[in-house]
């Protein structure tokens, strides 16, 4: 006999099942057992969700939880706590840990940590090459046996076309997704911010847009050659959006993602050298922000992921040039999306749920992202109109380097439910 | 708020003439005599006094302008930002008899600054002080050698000197203010 949890009168949005209306959800044990109007069931726990939005738990397919190796920045435990607060119930962790997630041993260790300490579902993205050095392919088949579902050299890109072709071949055979951090470092070099008027104004080395979009074009071309799936991570330029759009039209199996800061902030937000906004790829121009928004609207960009990149204060509260790249995002991604995309009429709730939950679940081929009966009871309940101000003190994450500190946002996560258990309550 | 005139144009002119006489008498002539006025109205008055002496004695006295902003000891206490003017003393003051001129003598702090400033230009033989109005309430041991008129005031009152050259009229008025703190913060001028 499983414990029952009943969510009553919430506005349920589940695009996979074309549900968009006030309904009740009954959870038994880890699974959703029933979804319908006015469910009259006795349950141990009843949540009154009247006036609230009930969605499938967010699937964030791009996070850095830093374990193993940099537990001072974040751990599986702290990172998944932060996820829960942000309504995120599944994450895909990136392999740029210390050591990289490039060997059976380290994946076993990580799986162990996950089993013991994770608060939400943690999926693993292995490295493409050993040490993410771009020289030698990791044993992808062996990593797959340990449970990785994707590969990436995130933080870097494999420069060699030949090696990248091999990676696509392996990935296709092993049925893992290739996620590309598309950056040609021979072009971006020691750059710090978007190359252009702003980099000139700030006196900082620029990162050209070419360094991203030329590599996006290459990655898509190589995937096409092999017929493999490719997912372009953290798209930041209008040119990349256009290249992906054309790839999709051509029938290439390309999907893409962007992060909340790329559809919200632009390079001019850096004019006071705020290192929390120092991210890679860098914040681009206002026109790029518009192009990213267009890409989200027309479906070129399938996914919103946080690129949650925690760093300690020692690594961020220093000279801009020396500060690490990255912003945390797990706890703000939903609210930023609600404020900027739903609030400005760019996406409907149903469309947003696809970007943050259904699409990433499908792309990663995991059994998440919907509220159908028999599915994992990963559910997020949101007060859609409640406003809050992002404050450094409020973060659950070990690190506080958020690009959104001080911003007023709409949308508060009231409950996060993972496999039938309430893991976060506002 | 009330405004009362305490000194008319004619009275101002008479005072200046009298002060000019006194200066000549006191110095037994105009030898080595120079006049330095404190910006802004002290300088206007200095020019008038110099003109008075020139008319009486048929000479051309050197007249300098002194800005004492950088010498003030209350820069961090005053509520308003200082207005900076140039100091223009184009002559040597070494061994000169200087008549230092200001419009109103109050706490004495402006004069203290002016003395510091003057001494940075060299070592005069004497420094004498001429003012149009002495309103009392001294905070430092300073007194004027030449006074146009002594006017007893309360610290709530504001003494306003106007000169044709700047204000398009010659007059001295007293104004009652609400806040005596504000008055205090305006130093002696």
């Amino acid at each position: 006999m499983h414990l029952k949890l009943l969510i009553k009168n919430g506005h349920v949005i589940d695009p996979a099942n074309k549900i968009d209306g006030v309904m009740d959800i009954l959870v038994e044990g880890e699974k959703i057992s029933k979804i319908g109007f006015g469910l009259d069931v006795k349950a141990e726990t009843v949540i009154d969700a009247a006036g609230k939005i009930v969605v499938p738990g967010i699937v964030d397919m791009h996070v850095h939880l830093r374990e193993p190796g940099r537990e001072d920045k974040e751990t599986i435990f702290s990172g998944t706590k932060a996820a829960a607060k942000g309504g995120v119930t599944s994450v895909l962790v990136m392999p740029n840990t210390l050591p990289s997630l490039d060997s059976v041993g380290v994946i076993k260790t990580l799986n162990d940590i996950i089993k013991k300490t994770a608060n939400v579902g943690v999926f693993i993205c292995g490295a493409i090459t050993i040490g993410r050095a771009g020289k030698e392919l990791a044993d992808i088949s062996a990593l797959k046996k340990e449970g990785i579902i994707a590969i990436s050299d995130d933080g870097g890109s494999v420069d060699s076309d030949e090696l990248m072709l091999k990676a696509f071949k392996e990935a296709k055979r092993e049925k893992v997704l290739v996620i590309c951090h598309s950056e040609d470092k021979s072009l971006s070099g020691k750059g710090l911010v978007n190359r252009g008027f702003t980099s000139t104004r700030l006196g900082l080395r620029g990162i050209s847009k070419e360094s991203e979009y030329k590599r996006v074009a290459r990655d898509i071309k190589l995937a096409e050659e092999i017929g493999a799936s490719v997912h372009i991570a953290h798209v930041s330029t209008g040119e990349s959006v256009e290249i992906i759009r054309k790839g999709k039209l051509k029938g290439v199996k390309v999907t893409s993602e962007t992060a909340p800061h790329y559809f919200t902030l632009n390079e001019e937000d850096l004019l006071d050298y705020n290192t929390s906004m120092k991210v890679n790829p860098p914040l681009r121009t206002k026109d790029d922000v518009l192009a990213i928004r267009e890409g989200l609207k027309d479906g070129t960009i399938d996914v919103i992921a946080s690129d949650h990149a925690p760093h300690t204060e020692n690594e961020k509260e220093i000279e801009f040039e020396h500060a690490e790249f990255g912003s945390i995002g797990l706890e703000t991604e939903l609210a930023v999306s609600v404020t900027e995309l739903i609030g400005k009429g760019l996406l409907t709730w149903s469309e947003l749920v696809k970007k943050i939950s259904l699409n990433p679940a499908r792309i990663l081929d995991i059994n998440k992202g919907t509220l159908g009966s028999g599915k994992d009871a990963d559910i997020t309940i949101v007060s859609p109109d409640k406003e809050w101000v992002v404050n450094k003190v409020g973060f659950v994450s070990k690190s506080k380097n958020s690009a959104f500190i001080g911003k007023k946002l709409k949308g508060v996560v009231e409950y996060a439910i993972y496999k039938g258990k309430v893991i976060y309550k506002a | 708020m009330s405004l009362k005139q305490v000194f008319t144009k004619e009275e101002i002119e008479r005072s200046i003439t009298r002060i000019s006489h006194e200066i000549i008498e006191n110095n037994k002539g105009v030898k080595e005599l120079v006049v330095v006025g404190i910006r802004t109205r002290g300088y206007v008055l200095a020019e008038r006094i110099a003109k008075g002496i020139n008319n009486l004695y048929g000479t051309r006295l050197d007249v300098g302008a002194l800005d004492i902003t950088f010498y003030r000891d209350d820069l961090s206490a005053i509520s308003e930002q200082p207005v900076i003017h140039n100091t223009e003393i184009d002559f040597d003051i070494e061994n000169k008899n200087i008549v230092l001129v200001d419009d109103v003598l109050y706490t004495g702090r402006t004069i203290r600054c002016a003395l510091d400033a003057l001494i940075d230009f060299g070592r005069p033989r004497t420094i004498q002080l001429a003012v149009l109005i002495d309103r009392g309430h001294r905070e430092l041991p300073i007194r004027a050698d030449y006074v146009g008129k002594n006017i007893p005031t309360s610290q709530k009152e504001l003494v306003q000197v106007k000169f044709q050259e700047i204000d398009n009229e010659d007059s001295v008025t007293i104004e009652e203010t609400q806040d005596d703190k504000e008055e205090n913060s305006k130093m002696g001028s």
Partner: protein, 319 residues
């Protein structure tokens, strides 16, 4: 009281000319005139900053800017403490913020900071309550240098409006160029920048300047030419053929000046590389105001020190 200037100075810090209004800059230049007069006196000192402490925090070796600030502070009767930090050890040692907070705890009133990283002064100002004056940060800004350039120009020509000013040299990596551009364009001066194409930073036209890689063109209409120091030791400069090559194509020589306006004002922030960006004849010639710039630099820095010290509402975290 009638007031000569109604402009109010409200800035706790001086981080760059981009962030100042024309009125702010005018107030600084006018005040510098008063201080310039004081520098001509026998006793070149006033007590305006008596009891205040100015800390020169220099992460880059720079004798001239440091000495200029030191002289300026001393002429104002402030106490001056010089701290030189090896920039190579910066990452290992104390962070800039920690150093700043320590200086604050020593009850200093003003920190004058020179740093090799763009934005360092801005970051420091955000983290301390005392006033911060940017004495040059990376490639970003060097506001007091531009102020002294503008002061010198204004003194020579009477006004900045409509003046044709060319800036030649490594524009891409020059904080002097950026500060001059922000400042001069606010006064309606027409600024042209001249450098080899690889040393023109992207989008610089949007700062309101004309761009050329032809030095003769930059000189033709110019009322003044500001010649930047070329630093061939930079990594980025490896692409450039040679110093001699640069001198041939961009060096300011008497030959080139013959084709310019007769009374063109020749400026250089120093230290000059004779025979690299400027010939000795030009540096020492009648058009050069290079040494006047040095004197004016003191007056301008006195004005900056004076005004930032007048801002009372600094907030305080120190008990």
């Amino acid at each position: 009281m009638t007031k000569k200037k109604t402009a109010k100075w409200v800035h706790k810090d001086l981080l760059g000319l981009e962030y100042l209004s024309r009125e702010d800059i005018e107030l600084l230049l006018d005040t510098a005139e008063s201080f310039r007069e004081i520098l001509g006196r026998k006793i070149k000192k006033v007590p305006a900053l008596r009891g205040k402490t100015v800390v020169n925090l220099f992460y880059e070796p720079s004798t001239r800017t440091r000495v200029s600030f030191e002289v300026a502070a001393k002429r104002l009767s402030a106490d001056v403490i010089n701290i030189a930090v090896e920039s190579s050890s910066v990452r290992k040692g104390e962070t800039l913020n920690d150093t700043g907070k320590n200086i604050e705890a020593l009850k200093a009133d003003i920190i004058v900071v020179r740093h090799n990283c763009s934005g360092a002064a801005t970051m420091l100002a955000r983290n301390v309550n005392v006033s911060v004056i940017n004495a040059g940060d990376g490639w970003h800004e060097h506001p007091t240098q531009a102020l002294l350039d503008m002061f010198t120009l204004r003194k020579k020509t009477g006004k900045l409006e409509g003046l044709n000013v060319s800036i030649a040299g490594d524009i891409a990596h020059s904080r002097v160029a950026r500060s001059n551009i922000w400042g001069l364009t606010k006064f309606g001066a027409k600024v042209t920048v001249c450098a080899p194409k690889i040393l023109i930073p992207p989008g610089i036209e949007r700062m309101g300047v004309k761009v050329t890689d032809n030095i003769d063109e930059a000189l033709r209409e110019a009322d003044a030419i500001n010649i930047l120091r070329m630093q061939f030791e930079r990594d980025d400069m490896k692409a450039f053929p040679s110093q001699l090559e640069y001198f041939k194509s961009f060096g300011i020589t008497e030959e080139r000046l013959k084709k310019a306006k007769k009374d063109i004002i020749v400026m250089h922030p120093g230290p000059i590389n004779r025979g690299v960006e400027i010939s000795s004849e030009v540096a020492d010639g009648g058009n050069s105001v290079i040494l006047e710039q040095v004197t004016n630099g003191i007056a301008v820095r006195m004005a900056v020190l004076f005004w930032v010290s007048q801002v009372k509402d600094k907030g305080t975290s120190i008990p």
